[in-house]
């Protein structure tokens, strides 16, 4: 079957969604939802094609390999659930904030969200390194006003920090991208992942190392790696929950995806000694810092933002632990993080509507006020913390098992400690929110939660739960193939 047209069509749907949602504000949510559903269906078809036939080439511009396909699935799923969630959620927020002087940017939301999804989807679909960098850069550009959606001083502050720090990172990464572009040209290979991998043994070590360091700092700022993470909690505390789900679930991992893909290239170069150490050290610093920050958090959306930083660190550490950790560890964690984090932010957004605040100290008894949201928050937190029987338990258990199995006791021991700390902090805070006696200071009981958002919450829970104990055979094969792409060594 010829599927050359699939990558272009996957990108055309959100583009159409953006264009069609500009003129009619009342139709915009539904147009976006249809575009997102179409994108999800086509992404599944593309992933199945890649599973059966290997890399999917769409002319000279597109190439989708197993690792790209595995990342494409959570992106399109979260785009879809976020579009559904936003229908009722934004309306409810709008009602809540009618009295505000500066009303939220409702009219701009759906066109921007569709274009934002388009550029994230483009990252795994594009073949050319320079175009991938442009796609990553544009994710910041198109999401800046989504972060500043509520048009308050705090939201603008968060958006400014986000734009300033990640744009600085993008400029640093650009030099790294272009050094690698030169390396492929000098080796006579195309500037693609495959071309870079073929050229890797012949790239001069110092050149590759300089490119990698620029790449790590640049994309690391976008992925929220410590110490470039400072924008992330601010942006997530201010953006609407439907935006946070995309930002945290799949946008940060787009930058991490770029860093991960450089691992086999470094490992194939005979002059680079122990590239895993870079991933291990930066990963552990990130997980450790996030775990300690989680202990002193006071805002439940910031709590999930720190948890994202923790997860980026876990994925990077898993990559550093080596081949045994890749299969059910690195790539599965990247895959499952998107679904799970979107569930957490969907629950947190509705909890914000129930209580009218995000202050952990002021909210109690969510389960008695809104049982579905309360249980979603508890289960989502358990899932993101790595508890069984959820998807992330599998990957975190596998990472630790393979780390101890390969004799890396110090690194794995530290990782275990940090994961345990984060687990305690997350579950402690979420149980405080969900259980206990509601305080008088919070909003009264007459809250009717939007049905579309509740439905999105239920849909988001399905893969978080299902993939904890069952993976369809094509998906298992895709995970194995994706992991194999990180395993190439000298």
């Amino acid at each position: 079957m010829n599927a050359d047209w699939l990558p272009a069509l996957i990108l055309l749907l959100p583009l159409a969604g953006a264009l069609l949602s500009v003129p009619r504000q009342d139709f915009a949510p539904y147009v976006s939802l249809v575009a997102a559903l179409g994108t999800l269906a086509l992404s599944i078809v593309a992933a199945l094609w890649v599973t059966a036939n290997g890399t999917l080439h769409g002319g000279p511009i597109f190439a989708l390999d197993p690792l790209g396909a595995l990342y494409l699935l959570p992106v399109s799923f979260v785009y879809c659930t976020s579009s559904l969630y936003a229908i009722g959620y934004l309306w409810a927020r709008r009602q809540e904030q009618r009295e505000n002087e500066s009303p939220p940017r409702y009219r701009q939301y759906f066109p921007l969200m569709n274009v934002f999804a388009l550029v994230i989807l483009a990252v795994p679909l594009l073949a050319n390194l320079a175009l991938m960098w442009i796609a990553i850069e544009l994710t910041t550009v198109f999401s800046a006003f989504l972060v500043a959606y509520e048009d308050r001083a705090e939201a603008l502050e968060a958006a400014w920090k986000y734009v300033a720090l990640t744009s600085m990172g993008a400029m640093i990464a650009l030099l790294g991208v272009l050094l690698l572009y030169y390396a492929t040209h000098a080796a006579g290979t195309p500037p693609t992942w495959a071309g870079l991998l073929a050229a890797a043994p012949r790239i001069p070590g110092p050149l590759l190392l300089l490119a990698f360091v620029l790449w790590l700092i640049g994309f690391g700022a976008k992925a929220g790696l410590v110490p470039m993470h400072t924008w992330l909690p601010d942006a997530h505390s201010q953006a609407p929950a439907s935006v946070c789900a995309v930002l945290s679930g799949v946008e940060t991992s787009a930058a991490l995806y770029m860093i991960l893909r450089l691992f086999p290239i470094l490992a194939s170069n005979p002059q680079i000694h122990d590239p895993a150490a870079w991933y291990l050290v930066l990963g552990l610093i990130t997980v450790g810092s996030a775990a300690f920050l989680l202990l002193q958090v006071h805002d439940f959306k910031r709590m999930f933002a720190y948890s994202t930083i923790e997860h980026m660190g876990i994925i990077l550490t898993a990559c550093g632990l080596g081949a045994a950790a890749h299969e059910s560890g690195t790539v599965y964690q990247l895959f499952a993080h998107g679904f799970t984090k979107s569930l957490c932010f969907f629950a947190a957004g509705l909890a914000g509507i129930v209580f009218g605040t995000q202050e952990i100290a002021k909210v109690r008894g969510l389960i008695s006020r809104a049982p579905l949201v309360g249980w979603a928050l508890v289960l989502g937190t358990l899932a993101i913390a790595g508890a069984p029987p959820f998807a992330l338990f599998l990957s975190e258990f596998e990472i630790l098992r393979s780390g101890y199995g390969s004799g890396q006791y110090l690194a794995t021991g530290l990782l275990t400690l940090f994961i345990a700390l984060a687990f305690i902090a997350l579950t402690y805070q979420s149980t405080r929110i969900a259980f206990g006696k509601p305080e008088d200071t919070v909003r009264g009981p007459a809250i009717r939660l939007p049905r579309s958002s509740l439905l999105a919450l239920i849909i988001a829970f399905v893969p978080v739960f299902l993939f904890g104990f069952y993976l369809p055979p094509p998906l298992t094969h895709l995970v194995q193939e994706a992991a194999h792409m990180l395993e190439l060594t000298k």
Partner: protein, 224 residues
Amino acid sequence: MQVSSVAFHLDGSIAALFIVLGLGSMVARQMYASLRFFMWQAIALTLSALVLAASLQAINLLWVAIITFVTKVIAVPLVLRWAAGAEVYGRREVDQVIGIPTTVLAAAMLALLGWFAVAPTLPLLQGVPFAPLNLPTGLIMVLWGAFTVAIRRESVAQLMGLLLMENGAFFGSIAIVHNLTVIAEIAAAVDVPIVALVIGLLIRNIRRVTGSTRVSELDRLHER
């Protein structure tokens, strides 16, 4: 590849000019002066691309020169005038965390750092005769731009730092990559004004909501 010594001298002079103009933009005390230094630096970048295009007979670099001139010398100032005109053209003073002497000293140290970071790679860059000039200059400008963002308290002045970083990245890259595909060149050309537009609009909104573009006053978000 044989390249005439005239081209080397010319590109060397342009690199020196590029550095001086970057330093000018860093230490300028007025927003508009900082923007003018950036525009002149973009012209230096255009000239370097033209010299390299002629010396290496690389037609793609001719496109890079045209795109750079149109986007950075014409489009970016227009976009900034539209989005944040009062801030840029209103003879506003630049507010910095540190003074000019300290800025110059830090710039010198960053220049040394940039040079030492890139020096080991220069002998390895085969067939790219202008890399020893352009690559360190570009990396130094990226570091200076990042430093400019870090020390300035105003959003518009910070934007100048981001634009300096972009100029630096392109100045370094034209020497090592002169075979970008047309689609990547067009995308890069569109990217620069879009970034300037979005950041300009964000600045306009910050001024509308807070009454100022001083990002140092935006400090409500932090962990307690």
